[in-house]
Amino acid sequence: MGKAIHVVFLDDEHSTLEIIRHEFSQEPYGVFLTNNPDQAMELIRKEKIKVVVSDQVMPNVTGVKFLQNIKQYDPNIVRILLTAHADFSAAEEAINIGEVYRVINKPWKSIDLLSTVRRATERYDLTIRAELTNERLKAMYEIQREFTSTVSHELRTPLASIKTAIDLVVKKTLGKINPEQEEVLGRAKKNVDRLKRLIDDILDLTKMESGKLKMSFMKNDIHQAVREVVEAQKDFAQSRGLQLKMSLDNGVPFVAFDSDRIMQVLNNLVGNAIKFTKQGGITIKTSKKFEDEYILISVIDTGKGIAEENLSKLFKKFHQIESAEANEEGGTGLGLAISKEIINLHGGKIWAESKFDKGTTFHFTIPIEEKFNSTSA
């Protein structure tokens, strides 16, 4: 006695219950045996029951129906059905509708029932532990998000004064400065702007990771977004002596996407491509792929390529390929991580392919099927 009751057995035959009492007397947990479904339910409401085992054929209720009630009350309680041999329809119903853990035929081997119930209690413990961990993780994410947004605000405030002060001087609003002063302050400005982008990106990414980013999905023309990005990046490409081209497939249908966010991804990919391409050009290509399930957008450059072993690391936070170019360009190391989150939120995929010395292509997909209505988080 004194063992906590973890398992409830329901059977209308007194002799069966006696056998079970005997079989389970050595178990580390207590069992409750009854022939009354109401009594069983009452105990389940009161105690922390992990497993319920029910007979199928009883005078007032079937085992399947009873276990269904248990599932409704608490889906975590693991359910087992005892059936007379060859009662296939009951077994079928129990598995397909009642989603029971196991169906055991009568008469059973003592060891079978014992080990099944033991495994069932373990399964219950695992589920509960997973749920707890999940809740803790959610709470941690929430703390992190709150912390990040507070810190961002606190960082932006002093940064605002630094930036405005530097900009005022650099813009020569307050009077002439000599070329050396201009160069020195130019470096300060570049890094202030980089710090500002970094704060914005961290905040953005934290919002995405904690599911707090508001997205607005609208059925739209991806080519419109591509054209706008090309327009925005044209001058940057030209300043590097690079061509920015489009190869648009007219068969690409309208799909649901968040226009601002997809443009953010495209701007990031095209901006990266321009930064890391010395000569040639960048092409943005669209097409329909995978049995018309997705539209595919590809940003193709003629840069020096990325080594195979670095391709998968590209989308990790703060991962930048170590190079003088990367340092000089002042990226935040978060652009691709953010792009990946955005594409994930669209139900699509993003990846990179590269041949050394031949260039790199970044692909992303957006599902054609309308999975998203007008807005969702």
């Binding site: 932006r156 405030t157 605002a160 930036k163 405005t164 005022l168 307050l174 704060i199 914005d200």
Partner: protein, 122 residues
């Protein structure tokens, strides 16, 4: 063109004042809301440019109370805030009494600030 500027960050308040003055605006700057509001009641500014988080009442609360006063209904208000990114200028706005107010993120780009001030100050 008179601008009322309220920001409890004294450094940024002075710098923003300088930016605006160097571009031809007359600026009356206050570090806290009460004296700013008192000033606004006596000298109708052409534009109110204010922080959102201020000691005591928040910017939107101040505006909500000001806007019940007939003489303030036509004075445009633009918020300045580190709560939004400077890049979100176009998309983010703060709702007060069913109206959306343009919000400039901090740190701001001088050119963007000037463009918005020019658009609203009348």
């Amino acid at each position: 063109m008179r601008i009322l500027l309220i920001d409890d960050d004294q450094d940024l308040c002075q710098l923003t004042k300088k930016v605006l003055e160097m571009n031809g605006y007359t600026v009356d700057a206050f570090f806290e809301a009460a004296s700013g509001v008192k000033y606004a009641r006596q000298n109708r500014p052409n534009l109110i440019l204010m922080d959102i988080i201020l000691p005591g009442l928040t910017g939107p609360e101040i505006i909500a109370s000001l806007k019940t006063d007939q003489q303030f209904i036509n004075i445009p208000v633009v918020f300045l805030s580190a709560l939004v990114s400077g890049d979100d200028v176009e998309s983010e706005g703060i709702m007060v009494g069913g109206l959306k107010y343009q919000t400039i993120g901090k740190p701001y780009e001088i050119d963007k600030l000037l463009a918005i001030v020019k658009k609203y100050a009348k």
